[in-house]
Amino acid sequence: MIGWLLALPALGVMGLAFLWPLAMLFRISLNRTTETGAMEVAVTGESYTRLLGDEFTWELIGNTLGLSGTSAAIAVAMALPVALMIRAASPRWRGLLALLAIAPLLVSGTARLVGWMAILGDQGMINVVLRWVGLTDAPIRMINNWTGVRVGLMESLMPYAVLVLLAGLGRLDSRLEEAAATLGANRFRTFIRVTLPLAAPALLAAWLLTLVLGISAFITPRLMGGGRVFVLATEIYNLALESVDWPAAAAMAMLLLGGLILLMLLRGCVGWLQGKRA
């Protein structure tokens, strides 16, 4: 009983900051958009049928899953060595290294864009080096397109991947790696045969979390996509603030939310199954 009382403020905040706007959003998604673009109060599923019947929506869903799926996978793959290194460090360094790994979270989206511009831009570091070496004579576009967004998203997801992996790998007994070594396995075989299989649940958890974050990512596709990258989050923004079609924007937001909830449930199921197996 007292537990419930203590949870009340948090529940209240959640209700006000999350559920109420969500209910409003759902209500708006049921309104009608007239021929001239004005919003008419109604209770209709027109926006949903219009969106689901539009092949562009499905393209957006494909784009979104493709982008976040690959970015999340690369982020997790790159986070794994980092997490293993942090785990292997002495306790004195571990905290500092973990802090460094998640430090990018403290940098704003705009600051990141400036940084990536200096690296990936037409006059950026990579292009300058490529030209100087003589490999290219015209700049290769690595920003303001899918490549840029993928790189930017991967970078912004990596800290989360590191955090999830650190939590997951914490339960991985380092004696197992030592045991493999004493049985004659070199570092590579130990990694492939012991570390990797045992890290699989953590890798999956990290991938699912970063996938969800990637799907809902807005800033990176918006800032680094150069108007060439169309995903659900940017389209919701366009519908709401450029086309001013609120019912469609709200309906798409509800679809996205439904998809994310489905993914979280999936993640919960995976966790539950792993819990049962262990």
């Binding site: 002495s90 007994d173 004696r175 197992l176 030592e178 045991a179 493999a180 070594a181 004493t182 049985l183 004659g184 396995a185 070199n186 075989r189 130990t190 045969r193 012991v194 299989p197 045992l198 262990a278």
Partner: protein, 362 residues
């Protein structure tokens, strides 16, 4: 390699841990003949596990050398050392079956695929687990896991078998059985082995040689009887086996005079001065009223019974004497004299001069 040269030789091994003032392992040297079982015995933090890990290659010594069969392995990484290690927590691979765990080592040693299965199963049979080959570690009891770990370590026919507190995770009833099994297997296979323990009974029961360690140093390296009967240092005398402590001054002729006024004969050749002597409870004899001390028992003390602790086979009598509190342990069944005694009863205790283990006072 000559037959007389040791199979394992440690030379002046040193290992510090960052931030620690004293070295964890401080210039340890020892030799172990082929086929022998060495116990590294000591309290926690004495450096015994660090020594074992350095032998396995899991930690690097700062200086010193490790030789196996005359070959210097100090610089070799663990996967090139060909040593079977049984970890305290067993460290079985949870994603592999029992036979998979054993076959993993064979695979890493380059054993042909066709040979691995039969050899892994044979190793499991050796430890009496042939019926559990397809079980995952979590489906096995602690004792079974322990035996899989042993089978895994032995299957690769290691140059050296290393066991880190192999029995500590087992419950007391299992421990003795597994202890004897390990010893029997090791002797049957002729494997040279080192095991770490803080349990003196385990060390004495299993080992051919015991190295008693304290604060990073080997206090004594000897056969179990020698360790128990003739401890080289005061630390060994107190750490291995129980003993009553008698304080006093050693006088000419090896007579120990206690503060309580007793004069005890000893076999000590120490110079005169303050000393401490230790007396094992099972060495002390209880004399019947009027009974003369048996031949050779030069020391007889008048005493008063303080406490009687009966544990079935053994009864311990704690007595106040002029030499301090001395405990006598008697076989409860064969020696009936104690039954008459109540706390406060007068009694007489006898022991040999050689039973007193005398060391200079610290």
């Amino acid at each position: 390699m000559s037959r007389s040269s040791p199979h394992l030789r440690l030379e002046q091994l040193v290992r510090h841990y960052a931030g620690a003032a004293a070295p964890a392992v401080d210039r340890i040297s020892l030799d172990l003949p082929r086929g022998a079982l060495l116990a590294l015995l000591g309290p926690s933090g004495c450096g015994k596990t660090t020594t074992l890990r350095m032998i396995a290659g899991l930690e690097k010594p700062e200086s010193g050398r490790i030789l196996v069969g005359g070959r210097d392995v100090t610089a070799l990484p663990p996967h090139k050392r060909h040593m079977g290690v049984v970890f305290q927590s067993y460290a079985l691979f949870p994603h592999m079956t029992s036979v998979g765990n054993v076959a993993f080592g064979l695979e890493m040693q380059g054993v042909a695929r066709a040979e691995r299965g039969p050899r892994a199963l044979a190793a499991l049979e050796l430890v009496g687990l042939s019926g559990f080959a397809q079980r995952k570690p979590r489906q096995l009891s602690g004792g079974q896991q322990q035996r899989v770990a042993l089978a895994r370590a032995l299957a690769i026919e290691p140059d050296l078998l290393l066991l880190d507190e192999p029995l500590s995770a087992l419950d007391a009833k299992l421990r003795e059985g597994v202890r004897d099994e390990i010893r029997a297997l090791q002797q049957r296979l002729g494997t040279t082995a080192v095991f770490v323990t803080h349990d003196q009974t385990e060390a004495l029961a299993m080992a051919d040689l015991v190295a008693v360690m304290n604060a990073g140093k080997v206090e004594q390296l000897a056969a179990p009887e020698e360790i128990f009967e003739r401890p080289a240092t005061r630390f060994v005398a107190t750490f291995v086996g129980r003993a009553a402590r008698i304080q006093g001054r050693l006088e000419a002729g090896g007579v120990l005079r206690t503060e309580g006024g007793a004069a005890l004969r000893t076999h000590s050749s120490l110079a005169a001065g303050p000393v401490e002597a230790f007396l094992r409870p099972h060495r002390v004899r209880l004399l019947a009223p009027g009974e003369a001390a048996p031949t050779g028992m030069a020391n007889v003390l008048d005493a008063t019974l303080a406490r009687r602790v009966y544990t079935g086979e053994i009864v311990a009598l704690e007595a106040n004497t002029p030499a301090g509190v001395i405990t006598a342990e008697l076989h409860a069944g064969t020696d009936g004299l104690w039954r008459e005694l109540q706390p406060g009863s007068p009694m007489r205790l006898a022991f040999r001069d050689t039973d007193l283990l005398v060391f200079p006072a610290p």
